[in-house]
């Protein structure tokens, strides 16, 4: 697993670079330090970075579960009964992305594997809708994971039909009391629904409802309408056991989660540092500014991954010189996280390009969002130049065209239809992919923006 590729990391190239460098050469850094304690604390810092980064990235496997006690016990009971009693079952775990579906399942499986009674009694088959894109592939994968291909020896699984018949035969032979129960985990369950005839689902659910090899089918999905997608026969065979994960915690719990996620474990080598760090975290959680940042995030999304990415950004600010997190770090991270990506692009444009965007904004206002072409934009721009009578921005038309094409490449402007060879580029219909609010915000932050341009942006009639 690699660090979660969040959009925020793209927005913060500086911090990212730092992130990458640090684990690579802690010794180089330590050499630079003049203080005696620096070496020790550098060691601590790299340890902290390692532990916390692992926690933020591998939230599925190692992280803790928050607010899903009931679901946990439900699922655990279910799987325990499958293994101990050989009872067939089927269940769906439904919840929005990042709500901890996989984490829940992994925790349950981990606990099951620790039970003696269960360990040797359970065969697991993990399928993912993104990998097993059709039933044929899925069947092959099942056969492989059940290690049934040994039975067939050199026989080649030529046809899908043979494979299916083979597998069904294998499962039919079993019975409740003597066969090893099989756990099927279907990740991205909603994608299996689109397989032809839902053959795989029908057969899995059918086995789970008949006296064959005990089978438990667990589906993971984020779609709330999943039951409506099942074909009526498949639906009838599904036991309708649904486990919902909703992120149903409030802000207080959110703060607790924040604290737990950021605290160092008791087994951290340098106790005093850990103590200091944890105290700092405690202080942070009570800090008003920090709470405001967290509140903002919480209001946007309850997804824990968002919190992780925020903390990851903040953590990257921690160095030997700056060993403890501060509220400012978190605020900065919060700003980076919530920054608007298109507005960032606008900051890097030339004045001419900004002028073109402003012209387009005015056209949008005049024509109420109707598409425009280059010629219209150019005319609008010319009007502005003539009114102001400053030759400063008086560019040749080809130069303006070039600037316009640059905007096109940045996808700030999008053609309505694919450009064809015959159509002249000047008259290609286009649409602006920026909201007027975004443009105004970006202009506020644009360095050294000419005043008349700003005025023109505020109102198309400003020249009057």
């Amino acid at each position: 697993m690699r660090p979660s590729p969040r959009p925020s990391s793209a927005r913060a190239p500086a911090s990212l670079r730092e992130l990458r460098m640090q684990p690579a050469k802690p010794s180089a850094m330590s050499k630079r330090k003049l203080k005696e304690s620096s070496e020790e604390s550098a060691e601590c810092i790299s340890q902290v970075q390692k532990i916390l980064r692992e926690r933020f990235c591998h939230c599925g496997a190692a992280g803790k579960l928050f607010g899903m006690k009931q679901q946990y016990s439900h699922l655990l009971e279910l799987l325990k009964r499958t293994t101990v009693h050989g009872e067939s079952n089927s269940a769906l775990i439904i919840g929005p992305r990042g709500s901890g579906k996989t984490a829940l399942l992994n925790h349950v499986l981990k606990e099951l594997r620790e039970m003696n009674q269960v360990r040797e009694n359970l065969l697991e088959v993990h399928l993912n809708g993104l990998l097993q894109t059709n039933d044929k592939v899925a069947l092959k994968e099942i056969t492989r994971q059940l290690q049934l291909e040994n039975v067939v020896g050199d026989k080649v699984f030529g046809s899908f039909a043979e494979n299916l018949a083979f597998l069904l035969e294998a499962l039919r032979r079993g019975n409740r009391s003597s066969s090893c129960p099989i756990l099927f985990v279907l990740d991205e369950f909603d994608l299996f629904v689109h397989h032809k005839n839902q053959t795989l689902l029908y057969n899995l659910f059918d086995i789970s409802q008949s006296a064959q090899t005990p089978v438990t089918v667990i589906g993971l999905t984020c779609r709330q309408d999943i039951l409506e997608l099942l074909e009526k026969r498949v639906k009838s065979r599904f036991s309708h056991r649904q486990i919902y994960l909703m992120n149903s915690f409030d802000f207080k719990e959110y703060i607790q989660i924040f604290k737990k996620q950021l605290s160092l474990p008791a087994e951290f080598p340098d106790e005093s540092f850990a103590q200091k760090w944890n105290n700092n975290v405690q202080r942070l959680s009570e800090d008003r500014a920090v709470q405001a940042v967290l509140q903002g995030l919480f209001q946007h999304t309850k997804e824990l991954r968002a919190l992780h990415s925020l903390l990851m950004l903040a953590l990257s600010a921690v160095t030997v010189h700056h060993p403890l997190l501060t509220a400012a770090d978190l605020q900065e991270a919060g700003r980076q996280r919530s920054a608007d990506s298109r507005a960032n692009i606008v900051h890097g444009l030339s004045v001419l390009e900004i002028c073109l965007i402003i012209a387009m904004k005015h056209l949008n206002e005049v024509y109420d969002g109707e598409p425009f072409n280059f010629q219209m934009v150019y005319n609008e721009f010319q009007k502005f130049i003539q009114r102001k009578a400053h030759s400063m921005y008086n560019f040749e038309k080809p130069v303006v065209m070039k600037a316009f094409e640059h905007l096109l490449q940045l996808e700030l402007v999008q053609p309505l239809e694919r450009p064809s060879v015959r159509a002249q580029r000047e008259f290609l219909l286009l649409r602006l992919l920026l909201d007027s609010r975004q443009i105004m915000d970006a202009l506020q932050l644009y360095p050294n923006c000419p005043t008349d341009v700003k005025q023109w942006a505020a109102s198309s009639l400003s020249w009057l």
Binding site: S73, G86, E87, G174, S178, C180, S210, D435
Partner: protein, 893 residues
């Protein structure tokens, strides 16, 4: 001159350990083997002509039937001819090309319509015995074991044209091990027990002796008088057995052979055998050639005279070596015998025989010599005896040793003709070669004289003898000629280890025993599982009776028919049909009904509608073929009458999935029952009542017929009864709780599965709650909770647990919808509303990136339907649930 014949006889040899003349057969093995292969291969492709062997034994004028003692099967393409006589064991063409029926030929006759008929005693293969009955055997059954068939239902009168070839069936006592025969398995079967459809019995002494008799007779015939059978058919196995026999008499030889075996231990058995065979043949060949050359010049004219006999006998040789001089030579000999150009052949023969016997002795005495030296010795001797020694030169030295065995059998054969019974005795008792070989010469000469007097065609023995004389040398020569070419072909056929046709896949067993339910709740949960099969299906008695009557009547009439069963999921269609089949099978076992085969296919378990053919065929015959081939085979199977045809009951579940554009699968399925001989009963199951009208073409729907049945959804009373019947004897549910569940489910779908699942979930909830208090029984509250869990809409809950901005976004959508009056909006429009709402609530307004993140999150949950594209702000958005639901969910806050 059926190839199989010698085959079988030689196979039988092991039981007569001292039957010395087996050595003779050895010589011929090689050719025979190649030959038998040919026959097997061509069976399917070449046209076979069946003709009577001999004259009618007796004829019934009135019935215009005439009985025969044998039948000749001539293959056009290979020019082979096989003779099958009464009492022989045969293979009869059956449903499955790979698994022909085994039978004993009891009678052959031609009926009034000139059809050739045969009366047989069937033997049952393991594959023909129902799976559940196999357990009765309580032992491992090899594929080569058959059962003496005492089922009365089967038609024992079959068309003679269905006979494939003759084989060997050996009776064994129950405890006896099957003799180890690794090659040529297809040719030999063993019978230990009889099967009468219900149980297995040990063979009664007289059937046992009869079977033994039949074999003995054949063995004697083949051994003693088999002259007419060109040894072509011998397969390598025989050779081995012969080798073994031989070794029994001459221990030293054994040693050498064993050595050779060891040396070749790495190569497959087949190869090993093959190599031995090659060696043997090579050794033999030169002498044969020599002999032939001696005889040929004088007799070449005789061809025409012998033609009748040749017609019967020759073909085998021709097929193998059509252009060889051998054919002419052989014929020449014939002519001699027939036309009696007197002494020369006799003398020749005699001289040969004497020389051979001499050699024979020599050989046995020479055991210690290595083969090579031995051969040389013989070669020299030969030279001395015959002037033609010079011919031998290149190959010669190897040859001699085996010439002698070739001839000895002939003499013995003649003896046997005269006193077959006596010899049989002798064989079984003594098997001393010396005795036989000594008597050779005199017997042979006399027999030949006799032959001349008798007319050739009438008795089989005669023919056999003459042909034999001719054939032996020929065959040996042939073997020499052909060995190099043939051998490579053979070895692969035998050598390739075929993967087992039906690999038995199995899920590993669990390492610890499954726990049995401990409490009443667990017990109840187990019984409430859908997979738990109740003893009877309550509330479906009427439907059960209708289906049962339908199938029963068809079974009794021996006709076919279709029935269409429809009903929404979970109404017990499949369960009821299975119950019917179970009862019918029970009845069939108790002999109340004729036996039938039961095949089930499920449209959902097929990857393609055409796979239905494959599965049906596999169920019926165990063959695995492609879909098109299977369709052809099934069509043939159901449209032609066959022996041993049982009625087939076919369940087609999820019929609607067998729909194809041309509907040929459905058409075929429903067309077969209308065929006269099909005896096929189809029970088609699907969900929709009007399926025939909706998706089927007229021609299909009309074949399906009007026998329909529809399963109504269960009413609440029925559901209640179902639950209570399952819970009989377990006090786990409150009366009212059961009623609540059944009423709720009946109102929603009437799906029994749902009902059971809710009850099961309720027991779990109850169990979880029990830790606190101690209610041993499922109450209303538990049931209500379970029902809520299963049926409550997830949307409201999802919206309530969404983040604040997600909720505001939903509100903004509602606002935009209200403003525009259209239930669709772009993100840009919603964004405006969102910002306004934020301003009202005093929140910081989100950036466009955040808005789009919110939008995609809601889209992933399918609260929203979001257009998938790169349109950014212009992406269009719709609600996936009613506006009222959103309002309701948001207002509660």
């Amino acid at each position: 001159m059926h190839a199989e014949r010698i085959d079988t006889s030689s196979m039988y040899l092991p039981t007569f350990p001292f039957f010395g003349f087996s050595i003779i057969i050895r010589k011929c093995l090689f050719i025979c083997f190649s030959f038998s292969l040919g026959i097997m291969n061509t069976r399917q492709q070449s046209k076979l002509i069946y003709s009577w062997y001999g004259k009618p034994l007796s004829s019934d004028r009135k019935l215009r039937t005439s009985q025969y003692k044998g039948i000749l099967i001539t293959s056009e393409s290979t020019k082979t001819e096989t003779c099958i006589q009464l009492g022989d064991f045969i293979l009869v063409e059956g449903v499955n090309a790979d698994q022909p029926y085994v039978a004993q030929l009891l009678d052959l006759y031609e009926d009034g319509a000139q059809h050739k008929r045969a009366v047989v005693q069937w033997f049952c293969r393991l594959g023909e015995i129902p799976q559940n009955k196999r357990k009765l055997l309580k032992r491992e059954i090899s594929a080569q074991e058959v059962f003496f068939d005492q089922i009365l239902g089967y038609d024992t009168d079959i068309a003679a044209e269905t006979i494939i070839k003759s084989i060997m069936v050996l009776p064994l006592h129950l405890g006896e091990e099957l003799p180890m025969i690794t090659l040529n398995k297809e040719q030999t079967f063993y019978v230990k027990q009889s099967w009468d459809g219900k149980c297995f019995k040990v063979l009664s002494p007289d059937t046992f002796s009869k079977l033994k008799e039949a074999n003995k007779k054949r063995a004697v015939i083949t051994n003693s008088s088999k002259a007419f059978i060109p040894p072509d058919t011998l397969t390598p196995v025989k050779k081995e057995t012969e080798n073994v026999l031989w070794s029994a008499t001459k221990p030293k030889n054994v040693d050498t052979e064993i050595e050779s075996k060891h040396s070749a231990s790495k190569s497959s058995l087949a190869k090993e055998r093959h190599s031995q065979r090659v060696a043997n043949n090579d050794i033999k060949t030169p002498t044969a050639r020599k002999k032939l050359e001696l005889s040929s010049p004088t007799r070449s004219k005789g061809r025409l005279l012998g033609c009748e006999v040749l017609g019967l006998l020759d073909d085998d040789c021709d097929a193998v070596a059509p252009s060889e001089p051998s054919a002419t030579k052989r014929k020449v000999k014939f002519s001699d015998i027939l036309g009696s150009p007197p002494k020369i052949p006799c003398i020749n023969d005699k001289s040969k025989s004497t020389s051979e016997t001499a050699e024979h002795h020599q050989r046995f005495s020479d055991i210690q010599l290595t083969p090579y030296t031995k051969v040389k010795d013989f070669g020299e001797k030969d030279k001395n005896l015959h002037e033609n020694g010079d011919i031998l030169s290149p190959v010669g030295y190897q040859t001699r040793s085996i010439l002698s065995p070739v001839l000895t059998p002939r003499s013995r054969r003649t003896c046997a003709q005269k006193t077959s019974a006596l010899i049989a005795e002798q064989i079984s008792m003594l098997g001393q070669e010396d005795f036989l070989s000594d008597s050779d010469s005199s017997y042979s000469s006399s027999s030949e004289e006799e032959e001349e007097e008798e007319d050739v065609p009438c008795t089989p023995e005669k023919k056999t003898k003459s042909s034999r004389i001719l054939s032996t040398p020929k065959s040996s020569r042939k073997s020499a000629v052909h060995t190099p070419a043939k051998t490579p072909k053979k070895t692969p056929v035998q050598g390739t280890p075929r993967t087992p046709r039906n690999a038995t896949p199995e899920i590993p067993r669990r390492s610890q025993a499954a726990q049995e339910p401990a409490s009443a709740l667990e017990e109840a949960r187990l019984r409430l599982h859908v997979s738990a099969v109740p003893e009877s299906l309550p509330c479906r008695e009427e439907e059960f009776q209708d289906i049962y009557n339908f199938v029963e009547s068809k079974l009794i009439d021996g006709t076919g028919g279709c029935m269409y069963i429809s009903g929404v999921p979970g109404t017990g269609k499949t369960a009821t049909v299975h119950e019917v089949i179970r009862c019918l099978q029970q009845a069939a076992e108790n002999d109340e009904l004729p036996p039938f085969q039961f095949v089930e296919i499920n449209g959902m378990k097929l990857t393609d509608p055409h796979q239905a053919y494959v599965q049906i065929l596999e169920f019926l015959t165990g063959q695995k073929v492609t879909a098109t081939h299977a369709a052809a085979l099934l069509a043939k199977l159901f449209s032609t009458p066959g022996p041993k045809r049982k009625t087939t009951v076919l369940i087609v579940d999820e019929l609607d999935l067998l729909w194809t554009r041309k509907q040929n699968v459905m058409y075929n399925l429903f067309d077969w029952p209308t065929q006269k001989h099909s005896r096929l009963i189809i029970l088609a199951i699907a969900n929709t009542m009007d399926l025939p009208e909706r998706i089927m073409m007229n021609r299909v729907a009309s074949r399906l017929g009007l026998t329909r049945m529809s399963f109504q959804p269960y009413t609440y009373k029925q559901l209640q009864q179902i639950i209570l019947s399952r819970l009989k004897g377990v006090k786990a549910f409150e009366e009212d709780a059961v009623q609540l569940v059944s009423r709720k489910v009946a109102a929603l779908s009437g799906d029994a599965r749902r009902c059971l699942d809710i009850c099961r979930r309720a027991t779990e909830i109850c169990e979880l709650a029990r830790h606190k208090r101690a209610p041993e029984i499922v109450r209303m509250a538990h049931v209500t909770e379970a029902i809520d869990e299963m049926f409550s809409s997830p949307y409201v809950n999802a919206i309530r647990n969404a983040s604040l901005h997600e909720q505001i976004f939903l509100k903004a959508i509602l606002a935009e919808f209200r403003r525009a009056g259209v239930e669709e909006a772009t993100v840009q429009q919603i964004y405006q509303h969102h910002v306004a709402l934020c301003r009202m609530e005093g929140l910081q307004s989100p950036t466009v990136s955040e808005i789009l993140a919110i939008c995609s999150r809601l889209g992933a949950c399918r609260l929203l339907l979001v257009e998938a594209s790169t349109k950014y702000l212009h992406t269009r958005v719709r609600l996936n649930l009613g506006q009222d639901d959103v309002m309701y969910a948001l207002r509660e806050e």
